[in-house]
């Protein structure tokens, strides 16, 4: 049994359905992407996983067991809306939060020091949150979510508002946690992060699951429809090839959208007959495009 199983879970607020029959499993050492536009039901799903609200239907299992107070201790949560006590010393509040999740004061203190050192911010041990920059506040928030060595971590928009250096630092840390066997439920609007981190994803749209599965397989389902040609010479007659939908002149050469993958070979032959190519690529769609297409289709 996988560490986190969400089995056909639904939630209604009055007559409004917030989540409709969502179903997924997250394995140990896996980062699972939960995607969706604003108001799609991500937060409600996460709150149900956290046991803050109870599902109307379906069940959530943690290591095969239903939710209980004990399960809380193996959960770690990084909320989308960051928040700590602004006027309390970092050591005090992080240790407090770790203690609430069943850690001894001593262990919590040791872990906190270890994490602060890892993030190169050891000097903030005795500082207050309000004295820190936003990026460093987020690091502390992240530490608060993982300090008690949780088995399951829920990261809601983990990298928002961070500079690229800190994004890389946290991304590296998340990968390390994954490699040490932690189960991670990951939600974000940044598709490139999902492509880099997640093995499986669920895309929610207006409370419903619209796309689900292994990220690589999902991508395969979508035709590779974008061709990149790198050249400095002007090419003629690209529009005339059967199956070409659109041709864009770009700085690096041409970008073409095609109907069938076979068309790509025809384009290559056509282009090579006219000029020297520095680059030819048949690209699978980015997750960004897949997301917009899945969510957009239903909008229409």
């Amino acid at each position: 049994m996988k560490p986190l199983v969400v089995d056909n879970v639904s939630k209604q607020y009055g007559d409004k359905t917030a989540v409709n029959g969502i179903q997924f499993e997250v394995g140990a050492g896996e980062i699972y992407g939960l995607l969706g536009a604003n108001g799609a039901g991500k937060t409600t799903t996460m709150r149900m996983v956290l046991g803050l609200i109870y599902p109307d239907d379906g069940k959530i299992l943690y290591q095969g067991k239903p939710y209980s107070q004990e399960q809380l201790k193996m959960l770690g949560y990084l909320p989308e809306e960051r928040g700590m006590y602004p006027k309390v010393k970092i050591s005090d509040q992080v240790i407090y939060l770790a203690q609430l999740r069943g850690m001894s004061r001593k262990d919590a203190d040791r872990n906190l020091k270890m994490w602060l050192e890892k993030f190169n911010i050891s000097e903030y041990y005795n500082k207050k949150i309000e004295e820190l920059s936003k990026g460093n506040q987020q690091k502390i928030q992240f530490i608060a979510a993982v300090i008690h060595e949780p088995k399951i971590i829920i990261l809601d928009e983990a990298f928002s508002g961070l500079d690229p250096v800190n994004v890389e630092l946290l991304k590296k840390t998340v990968k390390e946690l994954r490699d040490s066997g932690t189960t991670i439920l990951f939600s974000t609007h940044r598709m490139e992060h999902v492509e880099e981190l997640c093995r499986n994803i669920t895309i929610l749209h207006k409370s419903n699951t619209v796309l689900q599965g292994n990220l690589k397989e999902i991508k395969k389902q979508f035709t590779r429809e974008r061709v990149i040609l790198g050249t400095e010479t002007e090419l003629k007659g690209l529009e005339g090839i059967a199956g070409v939908r659109q041709v864009n002149r770009q700085e690096y050469g041409y970008e073409l959208f095609i109907d069938r993958e076979e068309t790509a070979q025809a384009i290559l032959r056509h282009a090579m007959s006219q000029a020297e190519l520095s680059r030819f690529e048949l690209l699978e769609p980015t997750l960004n495009e897949i997301f917009i297409r899945s969510v957009g289709d239903i909008n229409e």
Binding site: Q12, G14, M84, L100
Partner: protein, 429 residues
Amino acid sequence: MNNFLTVIGFTIRNKMRTKSFLITTAIIAIILSIGVNLPYIISQFNKDEPANIGFIETNAPEVTGPLKAYYEGMENPGLKLISYPDTGSGEANEEALRQAIISGDIKGYILFESNEAVGFPKVFYKSEGLMDMGTSGTLSAALQTIKTDAVLQEAGLTEAQELLLRSPIEIETTQISLTDAAVGEGKSADQQGLAMGFVYAMMILLFMGIFVTSQLIATEITAEKSSRVMEILVTSVSPLTQMFGKIFGMFLIGIMQIGVYVAVFVINVTLPHNVEMLEGLNINFADIDPSLYVFAVIFYLTGYFLYSTLFAAVGSIVSRTEDLAQALMPITFLSMGGFYIGIFGMTSPTATFVEITSFIPFFAPFAMFLRIGLTDPAFWEIALSLGLLVACILLFGWLSAKIYRTGVLMYGKRPSFKELRKAMKAYKV
């Protein structure tokens, strides 16, 4: 249980570290010390020379003579009369006396003007002070005595008659118990005064302990919500543990604070000079019925837990500290109402409105305590009032826990009762 203690510990540690809390406690302790020592301090100043009052030698000597003798005969005279020579003209006399005030020799002066109709001269007291009641009061009393003496001397009464005329009327008021069988027992006037003072002090302590601390709880909960640390807290520890941990932690803080005040008070009162002072005023703290202390503690506990759970519930539904005061308005009025019933009821503790409100749980901690302290309610009345109070605590504790559980997750505008109920249903709490 472990988490409960952790929450309590965190609450206490944080509060103890805030400067404002420490400063407030220190300031109140200092004010309290000054207050306790004030009678002694004032008495120290009063041992100074009596105030000098000037008069003109030739102006109504039949009055000023005995008046001077009257004050000189006293052991601790408040006034001393100083004579000034007559310069001949009234205006020059007054000018001389004015100069004497300016030079600081005298505080004021008296002038007399014959009043044929009454037979006793009309008196003018002139000083720089506005409405110098203290001086004119003692002057009036002294002159009254002198007048009576003068009349009595002429009347030729016997000594016994004179004594009878002079002796003041004595009324001894005793508060009796209507429920106890014993006749003739009760609280003497001194004891009543003491009980009144004690009840008054307790009312203020109750109000502070209950209202101020509850308000702090609500503020802290809203602050946790607005700083969004609440989201992490509710996923770490059950909201009930969190709420009652906070209430209990603040309770201990409140007790500690009151403990400091009581200690400061007791230490000050037991200082030798204050012991003397209290004996002189006939105040003996052992005279207070020990059960009154017990009831003070009981009503503090019940009042605190009733209001703190309510304040916590309101704090949990407000998302921003700016909106808190407004949301707290209704229960603020309730607690203020209780306090004012207590204070105003003090002069008429047997009034119907005090009796009725002593059974309404929101007011009972004040009204019932007032009745127990100043009158003698039947045992069943106390039991009923306390029973209702405890039932109310359980009811509101349960309700507040539900509201809290729901409220902490609701952000945005303050929810209406309907929205709250809907959310409760949706969250299955």
